[in-house]
Symmetry: C2
Subunit: 297 residues, 2 copies
């Protein structure tokens, strides 16, 4: 199961309800942060989650509202004795920006940081999951990311029971696609196993509508997408952002299962429900993120 | 009247109740900010105050908890069309730090900033008030500040009434110390006027106890003082901070009228009342600042 905690869901200027963007993705022992707007360390506290578990931070782009919480978060980690190496992923320029951020550290000690400047493609792989990136279209180099859990081969325990096959360590070979013999009886791997499809979560922030969204979010179980504007397509195009309808169109074209909108401009504080109406005309399974909201996929 | 709004009253790590340090001082048309910890722009919003009125920012020192809200605040001012020149005062090194902060501005436009690196003495003067600074003893160059309203000569209206002297523009000359003649009667300036003593507010953050506190806070109507530790004097000395008792001693030696403690370490979240007890043993008129608390002097 993948847990998403929306630490901040706002846009360039924070409101009382929406802090600057930051999304925490938890999967098994891993905690990954996507963007880190100003005040993210306090949002961690409000959510009752320690930031000490974060091992990777993925930056979509280096506009202030998406990264100004980074120096404070890292300084707090140092003060709390963080001794891992923090892996930071972002577009070209990330090394230089990180250098500037680390130069602002005064008298708090150092933090080990490894910076990865990445472009489109696979940017990280573990035993259980992969992270992919795609370049977006914004007025700064900007990446969208996908967390993709690997598919798992499972043994069909109901079938085993039906056929009265006793539990045995040799059964594990079925997972490797190998046929086995139990009590003189041949058991075929392809008949006794099934594939447990891995979950996919895509995060698309700060971009105008473009075809790479479909590429990164293809068949996602959850697409988290920016929707800075309600329906002003010309304005969205001018400032290289998206409308609620465009986010819904992207979700539909990507064949995503669920869409969650965030990064709503502060100017819509009192008419956020209109975003839902707009988006649901095109893509029914749409929600709007709230700060500290938790979603499991 | 001087209004103080405590935007943030915490220490290096924010708690749910205490954001990083930031103090807003309002006097007539002036709004001045002292320090600007991460999340200060959101604290402005919580307080229902626009940061657009801020014309001067005084930085005590360049540790992260006191300044990491500065880039976000300035960016938000730009986005809101701030067209004044922001005057920023701080210790030696401030120009270099401001340079780094402004280098992080991406695609939000520019803000006009004039940086003043200051030491002990008068650092600003207007028609109505002065700002003084003194160097403190911390593990970074650190300044304490005082806002000092100028004394005003007032005409004693009760006396005028008693002597049946009619209202007249010529009376204004009394304020300049000039004697006047009304209806053939000599009226002496020194008999008909009194001095309205200006208010003084001193802000002492991040320092170990030292004699310059007395110098900056002499006869202050309000001394806002750090009290990072409760009673661990050795620890306070080691990390160059103060205890509650030391803050009270400083208030007493300075002959301050009122003491407000802030910058309490997050580790005392549940025993803040002990700070009051400790301090009041030495200086009775002590309070503890709360985020968004407003005090008028």
């Amino acid at each position: 199961m993948v847990d998403i905690i929306f630490l901040g869901t706002g846009s360039s200027i924070p409101t009382l309800r929406r802090n600057h963007p930051a999304i925490l993705l938890k999967y098994k022992a891993e905690a990954m942060l996507f963007d880190c707007g100003e005040g993210t360390q306090k949002q961690f506290r409000k959510a009752g989650i320690s930031p000490m578990s974060v091992k990777r931070i993925f930056i979509t782009h280096w506009h202030g509202d998406h990264i100004l919480g980074l120096p404070g978060l890292l300084q707090t980690l140092v003060l709390n004795g963080y001794d891992k190496e923090m892996e930071i992923y972002g577009p070209k320029g990330t090394k230089q920006f990180m250098q500037k951020i680390l130069e602002m550290f005064v008298h708090v000690g150092d933090i080990k940081v490894r910076v990865h400047e990445v472009t489109s493609g696979k940017v990280f792989e573990s035993e259980d999951f992969e992270i992919f990136a795609e370049e977006m279209m914004h007025n700064a180099r900007c990446l969208a990311y996908s967390f993709v859990e690997k598919d798992k081969i499972r043994i069909d325990k109901d079938k085993l029971k039906k056929l009265k096959i006793p539990s045995s360590p040799v059964l594990q070979k079925l997972k490797q696609g190998k046929d086995i013999i139990v009590n003189g009886k041949k058991i075929k791997a392809n008949e006794m196993t099934y594939i447990n499809k891995g979950k996919k979560v895509s995060i698309v922030l700060d971009t105008q509508i473009n075809n790479s969204i479909e590429k990164i979010a293809k068949n996602a179980d959850l697409l988290i997408c920016e929707s800075t504007y309600l329906d002003e397509e010309e304005t969205a195009k001018q400032y290289k952002h998206m409308t609620a309808k465009q986010a819904a169109q992207a979700a539909k074209k990507s064949n995503a299962k669920k869409l969650i909108l965030m990064h709503l401009s502060q100017k819509y504080e009192k008419k956020e429900n209109d975003f839902l109406k707009e988006a649901r005309k095109v893509f029914k399974n749409t929600e709007i993120a709230e700060d500290l909201m938790k979603v499991s996929v």
